[in-house]
């Protein structure tokens, strides 16, 4: 008789297990039923620590409470704007369904009365009346089910559309954000905003939103029906309300605390497991298995204790709530029985009432659960909105000079002027000019204040200097990864800001310091340089850059999948693949930023020969710490503190005995006698052979301008 209640409960139960299903893979903590509010006891730094220490499988950044709940909630609700009609239909259908469902039990009660009366009066059951009533009830339930289904389906489609658009917006946004946005934020945080937070919003909208509305409607409807049937019994039923509230309040709060503890302990245990598995060799080599295991045992024991308590307390809630329901049931059965006996109510009314009282408690629990989900969803939405609101880079063709740093209001010449849009015609020659360029990442500290240089077509420009001198920044400016604050950078005489970013970048090939590869095969990764390249062209690029050599030792050759943890491809091999990628792109300008730092020297020489062939007729900028790469450059730029302190050829610069001379002896050839001229192989090696002794005595001279361990070489 109380089927709708149960079906409603099961429905949400099923939906929850759906949420569990999808959430489970990512979040162990949330799955155990610890929603956002439970994180309240953790400090911010602990949360960050957890996010850091957990692997991606555990890495769901727990949505914290929204900073401004209502504005964000309203904005989230605003996403339904385009679906007003659909939403109105959903609400209308839902209302019809709820009214029918709430009404039906009382008619079922009437049917019961027909039987009871027939039985008591001994006149026999009036089957025509009973049949009619039952058909009405069935009809009501069928119509209610139909409308329930229709509104659910409609809402589902609307929500999915909204989430689809939301994801799309985020992706578009990511492409429009300036690089500085990514530099100043933790990538992990950004990732979780674009992935976990969206999932969270989706489940909040899909499950919580609908259930919450209907739970509230049902509660209101049932309350009305109960008072309509009998206000005395309604009061008894309502007694259950404060008891439930106390149970949820006391035990619920306790179990939330325990879940927080469980989560914290899970994080700590996982951290330990991660460390001892990742550092497994070291643990073995130093024979520390026993002490590591002791630590594991302690943390495992702590986790066990916390999770046992958390499960126990949270598991207690259901039986107690059930008990409260039974309490109401007993109360109504007894008082109802007395009232029937006294002729104040009919049996049907009491049975209907029992059903109502049961239906009353279940949406209550639902409201609590769904509210948590919704709060967490709003917090996630807020984080997404923050991302969507971030300032974008200026659109191509709408660049104003020096606008990148609007807060650093200096009155540089030409600031705020709109730059006329230009386009390339004909082939790119590759002449690069820096004309009094000023740039800084933050307005407070200027990095490049006034830098000018000219790179003629076909020249190789090597850039050297200590860490933080601005070498990478300089080449990034050519790529227009950042907008300059003052001056001009010209490619073939055209201000690069007048060009589309894509137009500039497609003419420049860049091999970056860290070899970023994408998921997929080696072939796909190389082809990234030129999507329309044939397999032969890919293979040719791979052969030229010595990728081909090691590819054949891999089980699937070019179809070997690049793994995230990169166990199958070493750092040096990754670098070679990124070089092959740039090689295939065949750009007019080439930028190599520490491109071969992880490649062994013998291979490096070979790759360099190939690169030299590639470079011969194009301008290239090379940042490297190995001398062999630098020596043959047409121009060497020595950078210090964002400025070019020296430029010229290798020999000329050595002769000048300036910054390059210093840098050279400290970094590239520490300890070697600076006066030894072009020595033949044998002789010079004898000199090198003596390094330890000489170095020990050359302490002062050997000191590099910067903390030596921090030199770019260290990044390899």
């Amino acid at each position: 008789m109380n089927a709708k209640r149960k079906s409603a409960a099961e429905k949400t139960g099923a939906k929850r297990s759906n949420a569990k299903k999808s959430g489970a893979e990512k979040s162990g903590a949330k799955k155990s039923g610890a929603p956002a509010a439970e994180l309240a006891d953790l400090t911010e730094s602990e949360i960050l620590e957890m996010q850091d220490s957990m692997t991606s499988e555990w890495g769901e950044s727990a949505p914290r409470k929204a900073k401004a709940f209502w504005p964000s909630a309203l904005r989230l609700a605003g996403t339904f704007r385009d679906h007003k009609l659909g939403l109105a239909v959903v609400l209308g259908f839902g209302l019809i369904s709820t009214v029918l469902t709430v009404w039906a039990p009382s008619i079922l009660g009437d049917a019961m009365d027909v039987i009871f009366d027939g039985f008591l009066s001994g006149e026999g059951v009036a089957f025509d009346v009973l049949g009619r009533l039952l058909l009405i009830v069935l009809g009501m339930y069928l119509v209610a089910a139909l409308f329930d289904w229709l509104q659910g389906r409609l809402l589902n489609d609307v929500v999915m559309k909204i989430v689809y658009v939301l994801r799309e917006k985020i992706e578009t946004k990511v492409n429009r954000l300036p690089l500085s946005y990514f530099d100043t934020r933790q990538r992990g945080d950004l990732l979780s905003r674009t992935t976990n937070d969206v999932d969270n919003v989706q489940s909040a909208l899909q499950q919580a939103f609908a259930s919450l509305v209907y739970a509230v409607l049902t509660i209101v409807g049932i309350t009305i029906m109960m008072f309509w049937l009998s206000w005395q019994l309604a009061l008894i039923a309502l007694i259950a309300l404060p008891i439930s509230a106390v149970v949820i309040g006391v035990i619920g709060a306790k179990s939330q605390k325990l879940f927080t503890a469980q989560w914290r302990n899970t994080g700590r245990l996982n951290g330990h497991v991660e460390e001892s598995f990742t550092g497994h060799d070291l643990v073995t080599v130093f024979d520390r298995q026993d002490s590591m295991r002791e630590q594991f045992d302690t943390r495992n024991e702590e986790l066990w204790e916390a999770s046992f308590k958390a499960q126990f307390y949270s598991g207690m809630i259901m039986p107690i709530m059930q008990w409260v329901t039974y309490l109401g049931y007993v109360g109504i059965a007894v008082v109802g029985g007395l009232r029937i006996a006294a002729g104040q109510m009919s049996l049907g009314q009491v049975t209907a009432f029992i059903q109502y009282s049961r239906e009353f408690n279940s949406p209550l629990g639902e409201v609590a659960g769904m509210a948590n989900m919704l709060i967490s969803g709003v917090a996630s939405a807020e984080r997404i909105f923050e991302l969507l609101d971030a300032e974008e880079q200026e659109a191509d063709g709408e660049i104003t000079a020096g606008a990148a740093n609007t807060d650093g209001e200096t009155d540089r010449e030409g600031r705020g002027e709109r730059i006329e849009r230009a386009e390339f015609t004909g082939p790119t020659r590759g002449r690069i000019e820096f004309d009094h360029v000023a740039f800084s990442y933050t307005p407070e500290t200027s990095l490049i204040s006034d830098l000018s240089l000219v790179a003629e077509p076909g020249q190789t420009i090597a850039i050297v200097g200590p860490t933080g001198a601005g070498k990478t920044t300089l080449v990034n400016l050519i790529m227009r990864f950042y907008e300059i604050d003052g001056g001009q950078i010209r490619l073939d005489g055209v201000d690069i800001r007048a060009l589309d970013r894509g137009a500039v970048r497609s003419r420049v090939g860049m091999v970056l310091q860290d070899a970023v590869l994408f998921g997929g095969t080696i072939r796909e990764n190389i082809r990234y340089g030129r999507l329309e390249a044939t397999d032969e062209e890919v293979a040719a690029a791979a052969t030229a850059t010595f990728v081909d050599r090691f590819v054949h030792t891999l089980p699937d050759g070019y179809d070997t999948l690049i793994e995230d943890e990169g166990a199958n491809v070493s750092a040096g091999e990754r670098q070679l693949i990124t070089i092959a990628r740039a090689f295939l792109a065949d750009p007019a300008l080439l930028i190599l930023d520490e491109a071969t730092s992880s490649v062994d020297t013998r291979t490096e020489v070979l790759v360099q020969e190939a690169m030299a062939a590639l470079r011969s007729d194009r301008t290239s900028f090379v940042i490297a710490h190995r001398l062999s790469t630098i020596r043959d450059a047409d121009v060497i730029l020595v950078m210090e503190h964002g400025d070019i302190v020296e430029q010229g050829s290798h020999d000329a610069l050595l002769e000048a005995e300036g910054a390059y001379h210093r840098l050279y002896w400290s970094q590239f050839a520490a300890g070697t006698d600076p006066d030894a001229d072009d020595a033949v192989v044998e002789e010079s090696m004898t000199v090198t052979g003596a390094i330890p002794e000489v170095a020990a005595t050359r302490d002062g001279a050997g000191a590099a301008p910067a903390e030596t361990g921090e030199l770019p070489a260290a990044g390899a």
Binding site: S22, N156, L347, V516, V687
Partner: protein
Amino acid sequence: MLWTLIRRHIRPYLPHVVAVAVLQLATVLATLYLPSLNADIIDNGVATGDTDYIWRVGGVMLIVAMVQVITAITSVWFGARVSMGMGRDIRRSIYTRVDRFSTEEMGRYGAPTLITRATNDVQQVQMLVLMTLNFMVMVPIMSIGGIVMAIQEDPGLSWLVWVSVPLLMVIVGFLVKELMPLFQRMQDNIDSINSVMREQIMGIRVVRAFVREQHETARFESANATLTDTSVRIGRLFVIMGPAITVVLHLATAAVLWFGGHRVDAGLVEVGALTAFMQYLLQILMAVMMGTFMFMMFPRAIISGRRIGEVLETTPTLAEPAQPVALEAAGGGATVEFRDVTFAYPGADSPVLDGVSFTAEAGRTTAIIGSTGSGKTTLVSLIPRLHDATSGQVLLDGVPVTDLARATISRVVGLVPQKPYLFSGTIAHNLRFGDPTADDDQLWRALEVAQGTEFVKDRSTGEGESAATGLESTVSQGGTNVSGGQRQRLCIARTLVAAPRVYVFDDSFSALDVTTDAKVREGLARNTQGATTIIVAQRISTITSADQILVLEEGAVVGRGTHEELLVSSQTYREIVDSQITAEATA
């Protein structure tokens, strides 16, 4: 696999499991008794107007409800104890097993998946056990008990049970069957859309450098469309579930009233029995439905169980010797000897090391050079027995390493691995990893040699309460808050603190600039008096002063001798030297 795993780990908790079963039986009986009491109130109290009877039976109902809540809570207590306890035990089993893995087994699985297996997969199994204990025991008892009670109330209506239960099972079962592959697919879709997003953010510079924004957007859009499609299909199936179940349940209710009405009319059954029957039928249907839903947990847990089982059934290849040979722990160096050592990964076409023989004399320095992939790291990892040679022998002071206890090997051999890994904790904690008893002076001395004194002294971490400097400053996991060069120096110092008789440096100077490299090696020479040193290096300048240099090419020793000798005798060596000579020596 899952059953084996659970069977093996549930043994200590069998009494608890029995307790859960008994308590749930009591709970279910109490639950089932309530409708029958209610029927009594209607038939004997309400129908006859006996208010005393109503009060009396009402009191009994209250007591039954009390019993029900107490048994239910106690059962939850036992259930939580069993499931969480099992989770703890399984985690421990995995940890102890992985602990004994060799580098090879670690490599076969990879640390990330082992971590997931020890954490997430255990979580899955533990939740399954909890749910099973909480519901799976209850569901059959409830169904059978409900059927018995219902038939007892009115056997004439029992056919309604046989019709409605299968009908519900078919509907719910159908939906679950349709949904399960979709859930799996949705998870895959989410993973793939997340990985596209991840690549876009991590590789943002590459995407922009190659002007591939549109390409990436297209990839994302297709992933987004697939995900949305799957989500929509899941949602549409889900919204059928609620209404369909509602209809079945109410159909059953109406049927009970209609057919029951006839039986009441015929005087075959009392009205109270009718209401009781209705409640039993609903209880049975709820139990059946819950059971069907529970089945949704199984596929995932089975996969997790298999993944855990795999780890537990992997036998570590490195067995401790039955009768370990003792070896001097202190005093001078130890001789390291390779006798025709070959090493191949199982299933690989060609061996990593092929017939390597050499002797590293005590007190001498042996250097190993060769290009990437020539087997250098594998070679040195055989010395502290991270692997066992496929054939041939590795000997320490004439004793095969396979005859030495792990503790002995650890005391004798100190390896500084290629990847400088630090544990989370303080610097001191890390340095004492090799010798927990070392005092601060020893740590500082080791840092001095490793050229780490300066930066450790200047180092400070944390703010306020947690502020710390020097040796007490903290290192994050993996040493990510320490630069590459500093990490290497700390790793060298860590091994120095352990003061082994054989030092093995696997490319441990690569992140140091030439000056620091030279200073560190000079310091080592002075402080490791008498110890054997084995250095793997890329840089020629690092190894020129070695007493013996081995040139490794594709797993075989292709040249050996001093720097000067090799310049004459080894073509490969000359090539390596040539590649660096321009880089380091000429001007």
